[in-house]
Amino acid sequence: MPKRTDVTRVLVIGSGPIVIGQACEFDYSGTQACKALRAEGLEVILVNSNPATIMTDPEMADRTYVEPLTPEILEAIIAKERPDAILPTVGGQTALNLAVALAENGALERHGVKLIGAQIDAIKVAEDRLLFRDAMKEIGVEVPRSGVARSLEEALVLVDDTGFPAIIRPSFTMGGVGGGIAYNIDEFRELAGRGLDLSPVHEILVEESVIGWKEFELEVMRDVADNFVVICSIENIDAMGVHTGDSVTVAPALTLTDKEYQRMRDMGRRIIRRVGVETGGSNIQFAINPDDGRIVAIEMNPRVSRSSALASKATGFPIAKIAAKLALGYHLDEIPNDITRLTPASFEPTIDYVVVKFPRWNFEKFPQADPTLTTQMKSVGEAMAIGRTFKEAFLKAVRSLELGKAGRLFPEDSDAALMEEDDTALRRRLVVPTDKRMWAVFKALRRGWTVEQLHELTHMDPWFLQQFAEIVELRKMAALGEFREMSIDMLRTLKRTGFSDADIADVFGMTESVVRQRRLEEGLVPAYKRIDTCAAEFESFTPYMYGTYEQVCEAEPTMRRKVVILGSGPNRIGQGIEFDYCCCHAVFGFREEGFETIMVNCNPETVSTDYDTADRLYFEPLTFEDVMAVIERERSAGGDVACVVQFGGQTPLKLALDLQEAGVEILGTSPDSIDLAEDRKRFSQLLWDLGIPQPASDTVVSREDARKAAEKIGYPVVVRPSYVLGGRGMAIVFDAPSLDRYMLAAVDVSHDRPVLIDRFLEDAFEFDVDAVADADGGVVIGGIMEHIEEAGIHSGDSSCVVPPFMVAEKHLVTIRDYTRRIARALKVIGLMNIQYAIKGDVVYVLEVNPRSSRTVPYISKATGVPMAKIAARVAAGKTLAQLGLTQDLQAAGVFVKSPVFPFVRFPGVDTILGPEMKSTGEVMGGSDNFGTAFGKAMMGAGQQLPESGTVFISVNNSDKPTVLPIARDLASLGFALTATRGTAAYLRAHGVEVDVVYKVNEGRPNVADHIVNGTIDLVINTPLGRDSFFDDRAVRRAATMARKPCITTLTGASAAVSAIRALRTNTLTVRALQDYYSGVTAEA
């Protein structure tokens, strides 16, 4: 059947900001969908509030809206663009829920728009836990005993039946938000209450626990003709009870007999049919009782998901792309398989390697957070690794995590160290899953605990534990002799098993280079095998490869001039999708300059790891060893191979010097310049020479020096380890004792690198600048971004705006001048990011990053100029002039970037912002005025500003004068004001009407109660200092949980006021990026 003819304009909904449970995998899926739809000659309208995505690049769609993802805004876009269909299945849970909302508020009908991919009924059956359960009963698929509750009372009745532990799963949520495991009635009350609150439809499923059963996922596809295929099966090594997103998973499933697997496949087919997903991909989860094979269905996601991204990368089958084509009415057998070309997509990929996914957590950033892994996802990213055997893939996955020393599976180098932890403690770490459990497993194995014991404690399948035991055994054997005497066979076995040179060096306490030396002498280098969807049954035409120690290599490198682009590895707070965006643009740029582009990355959620992004893709860990091996293989053909490190964030920068020493040409800014900027001592000297002010600073290695330095500089000071991203381990210290405490803690974060102490600039305005510089000293400033929050709050966590809105022109002149001089002094070729702070009348430089930054995509969207791509072309040898860039860029409107935080998932964590980055993602709001832009940004970030109601104000004394005008404005806008005693007294004294509420520690009902009860709509609360610390926390936490905007800075507060004013006066208009760039106004 040819594609359907009733669809010519499609609205694709993106997934919005990166949050835990919904990361850049939806940029990958959305981008694939857009490409596929346009290739079919359709017009694509895209909406996504997240500017750091490839899909929001103006050339990806005909019309691109970076607007808040709310039903109202979407209807405005629909009214304006008149699409005839919406594709809601490539934007995660967000897009799905929006589709439901638009159907229920009648918008779809009003504008005569249909859904393609999944119909409302199907979405409901899949997402509504009750409907799903009943549907399963109907088709004879077992599910855990359960009931649905819409109130705590109902829930309590149900739990009598299910018993404890009881599983709580809210409807229409993703990543298990608001779900959990209750082991007793009190926990149950709390979790059920929270679940009911967090479910958009206030409905939870209370379910019999099948904790400890094996968990599996099937990625399935179906077309309109009811053809059905399984793309990939995924087995969770962590048993039921740990969210799939937090589980170490493996593809294909490795412990199922054909009988068990086919039974699961049959169920998958029945389920997708019954749920009624007409076309596209779905993810279905099953649990199997290891003792009797009893199988139950857990859930189905009627859309592409995080797991489909994994499955696509694991098999080479582009699920999102195919799903888009199926939505247009194609049948699977009418779509060719890109990789084999000659065969159709109507088949089931078979793979001849093993894929392991390992989650990446960030608990170190949320010390008060509970690291226990439950049914609610807590990881922020993941690494995937491919090997010919499970052991190889597993060890590659572990090193792909970039956990440094902390990531070593064999950290204890003495028996004493190994036996230190007592058995009870170790047993507990095995029974209660946390981000560290896998390391506990290895420790236990080294201590001689048996596979049986470990199976008892962890419920991991004995087969996997056996594999781990073999790894431990092999290492023990290797350790028996001296490295020099090690037989080539033993060395080969170690490499074939997946040990890195560093791992082996570690066994003998040597340096990696010694092992590398010996390995190369023995001619032991990895071969590269292709990922071809068919286990070599057919020829593959896509160079998508992984390294493994086998005889025959299939890399077939070319003779062309090549550049290896190093990706940014697993997402983590501080290094996320922004850097993958930049890597993709590096590919585009170098390709335009005639290079063959070679991507190396290990993050399956990314666009950069799509086999059709770069010319060649190596899915490998980003370590020196793995990267060098790729480069050497590519060199073997004779073509010369350069490398570029400035696009993937801090990860590639760490490799720059080593690569250069190994004789690799680094394009763009030289490793020495990078070091000059990253090494604070050298950098301070440079600024000094340039006569550019910086906060008084010093670098220290000991507590004593630290104290001395701090005395000299004067408190408060900012302390941090060098070479970090996202302000890792960074703190503002007010006195000597806390400084000592920091120094004690700091050592292990900083990997023995010195600690930096800067004078902390209080109440300073902060600015971010992104610029591109070329070899001739040409410098183009992309934009000067003014932070809404003052310096002291990490640039990644503060909202910012272009163009700057309240800074003296002379300071802008200074900033431009400094930027140019620093770029030239550092001989930057490519991207550079500088953070400035203005205090008093002085412009200070806080730091310079000689690389792409978090804000590059945002600036590119704001200006319509793809800076990363430009930077790549400059690094390739072009001058800015040649590229027609002669002056600094102008923003096409007013654009505000706002961060999004994961606090909801971490009860008990303080939500106050500081120099250590905590946000997972960002949104952009655009308009022709600051107020509206900021309002939209807040809206996009889920912080709906109230247009009326009650505002709570509580500020410290120094802030009181500044808050007065804000309070007046709010009053004049008709808001009722309440405040804590001190603040209230001050405001009253200045003639502002205001009620008084109790502080949390003054009695009840206190402000927290009011917030929870919803009688407060907006919170303005600046830190009141250590004494009332507890109070502030309680207030902010209450606000976060009640999802009421909570503003912790006065600049933020006044911004909010202008936003509220704007939101109230002019109704929100939407505007496509294409129109901003061509100067078409909102009304047009």
Partner: protein, 379 residues
Amino acid sequence: MNAILALEDGTWYRGVATGAPGEAHGEVVFNTSMTGYQEILTDPSYAGQIVTMTAPQIGNYGVASGDAESAAPRAAGFIMREASPVASNWRSDSTLRDYLIAHNIVAIGDIDTRALTRTLRSSGVMRGIIATGQVDPAALVERARTIPSMEGSDLVKEVTCERPYEWRERAAASGDVEQREFGITPQRTSSKRLRVAAYDFGIKWNILRRLDAYGCDVHVFPASAPASDLLAIDPDGLFLSNGPGDPAALPYAIENVKALVAADRPTFGICLGHQILGLALGGKTFKLKFGHRGGNHPVKDLASGAVEITAQNHGFAVDPDSLPANVKVTHINLYDGTVEGFRHTGKQIFSVQYHPEASPGPHDADYLFRQFLDSMEPR
């Protein structure tokens, strides 16, 4: 213990012995199924062949009596990337290794099976030898070249049953009851038990299990039995089973099937049975370069347009142009367009090249057993 795999083209691989000691001779083929190594090993169609599994981790879930497709492994030898020393599954009776040793099957592990597969893909299936212990690769290569080739050799006589038997009794005796939790429920069962006479060219037990589940009492006959024996029980239907090797090398079987066709009873053939039927109807068969072996081949039902994901295991195929006018092709393989099924336009006779009984593989084609039922019931 070391082991060596040598091929007729002169290439050889060093690995480790993962089965019985000794030597295995045969045609080296590859199978791309990710599960079901036990079913594959015990499938009589693999007689005379050394099977390479492209899936790298083999033996993980051990072997279970209920998963056998015949009384013992039939493959000549077994090649894998990594063999599991343990068996992890609630149903398993033993590890794969012990099973191979117990049945004296020579196997080799630690082989770059992907490299091997690519060789077989480009130069076609080859004769080869697995030998354990200290052996001279060059000598092995020489001997590999002397192995008789599949074409023209009758492997059926090695795997067919000696005397006729009734499946129900046999199953009851060998305790092979259809497994409740896995046997998919038949789309419908026949109102009355039907009598089916089946030629055993190397029949897989799951075919018998499926026919039984659909309501048939199956009487199994040796390949050498004259057609009259089958017709003597006045069967409601006739079945032609799968089996090993070259159909053209079985003149006696072709003659018998001609007689059955003449008798004009509802007839259903699978795999080798399908090829023999093709020859009996006047068609020709030819050898495929590297065959179809796996569980992911898309087959199109030309009547409905539906695509089935199928289990496949064959090295020969029926040439569509050679078929007479009264035979219509019903199914084709979407990978290479080869014939996957045909039916007689005048009679209740049809057959498929692939394996509706799966085991291992997807169950998409189970409807063919119902189709057989439909054709038999009117009698």
